[in-house]
């Protein structure tokens, strides 16, 4: 199974000029890989709202590529957002980091950890561009293809859970992040 960092390293290689919205544990890792104005750390956040925020951005800017990196805990707080996303023909890809834990609160076990079929959920919601990977090599071999194509996509990445992680901090204040992002899109 790949690590969270390995999963993001692959994504950083193929994200192109898409906006990347990070949440929770990814906020602490992603700036080491990319810190451009199109990298938006959604922190402070409202848990589960990153995907709809990305959808709103994609609707406001037709053609803008958007990637939302969500944790499994965040997605479970707002599963219905996949139904909403599937209604819209926008180039938004959800990259789900599934570690089975509430990592930023210390590593408590998530409901349904290891049992939930997130790819099946995404497909059932109407998202047709769906993929899943457990190894970095497998993910790397198809990552570019996973991000290409029209309409919403969903990539489920199973990663190793790590307990005892420090609570992440955004690379800069929210106001500054918003200014940078708006100027870049």
């Amino acid at each position: 199974m790949m690590t969270h960092l390995q999963a993001l390293e692959v994504l950083a290689e193929v994200r192109g000029d898409r906006v990347v919205i990070t949440t929770m544990g990814s906020v602490g890792l992603w700036p080491k890989l990319s810190d451009t104005p199109k990298d938006f750390a959604y922190l402070p956040s409202s848990m589960g709202q990153a995907i709809p925020l990305g959808l709103g951005l994609a609707l406001a800017k037709p053609g803008l590529g958007v990637i939302v990196i969500s944790g499994d805990g965040g997605l479970l707080m707002n599963l219905g957002c996949l139904v909403t996303l599937a209604q819209h023909d926008v180039p938004l890809t959800v990259v789900l980091i599934d570690n089975g834990l509430y990592e930023v609160t210390g590593g408590q076990v998530l409901a349904g950890a290891g049992k939930t079929d997130y790819a099946g959920i995404a497909k059932s919601c109407g998202i047709t561009r769906v993929a899943q990977f457990e190894t970095a090599d497998g993910w790397r071999s198809e990552a570019a293809e996973c991000l290409a194509g029209d309409g919403p996509g969903f990539v489920w990445l199973k990663v190793e859970g790590v307990r005892g992680q420090a609570t992440p901090s955004p690379p800069r204040p929210m106001a500054e992040q918003l200014l940078r992002l708006r100027a870049a899109i």
């Binding site: 709809p52 709103g56 609707l59 406001a60 909403t84 708006r182």
Partner: protein, 159 residues
């Protein structure tokens, strides 16, 4: 009673581009008119999600209006907190206050009217009311004022 076409044209003329909504039995009567207008109607699955979609639209330069019932507004509290107070985005909402007329007339014991305004106050949101007797001019003014506000604001819609 204000009808759907009046509402839709008032929202449009106020400068809003998108309506992000989860309708109730009152707001829902506006659906056809909104669909037939040039407003873009976005249908999320719950109210916090509606608020977050509106945040993304605002970041991208659009002018969204969130339309929800007060019950959903109660549910959406954390999303409102984040968008308004963390991100400081000028979120605009119409919050339908369920049973307002019936409670006023002693025909209902629904507690929605009891909590709607205090919860809006609790989130630090400026608000105005529009009542069922409002005429078209008042309706148009209410939406125009809501759209023009620099900060996040709420229009409480007495149902």
């Amino acid at each position: 009673m204000l009808d759907g076409p009046t509402i839709a044209s008032s929202i449009h003329d106020a400068g809003f581009s998108h309506v992000v909504w989860i309708p109730d039995s009152h707001l829902g009567t506006w659906e056809t008119a909104i669909e037939q207008s040039s407003l873009v109607l976005v249908r999320p699955t719950r109210e916090g999600e509606a608020v977050a979609i509106a945040a993304g639209l605002l970041i991208g330069g659009a002018k969204p209006l969130v339309l929800v019932q007060c019950t959903g507004f109660f549910e959406a509290g954390d999303a409102v907190r984040n968008v308004v107070h963390d991100m400081k985005l000028p979120l605009k909402l119409v919050v339908g206050v369920r049973s307002w007329q019936a409670v006023r007339d002693g025909k209902s014991r629904d507690n929605c009217p009891t909590f709607a305004e205090p919860v809006v106050r609790a989130w630090g949101l400026p608000f105005t009311w529009i009542e069922p007797t409002a005429d078209i001019a008042a309706c148009r003014t209410a939406f125009a004022t809501l759209a023009a506000a620099d900060s996040a604001s709420v229009l409480l819609w007495a149902e």
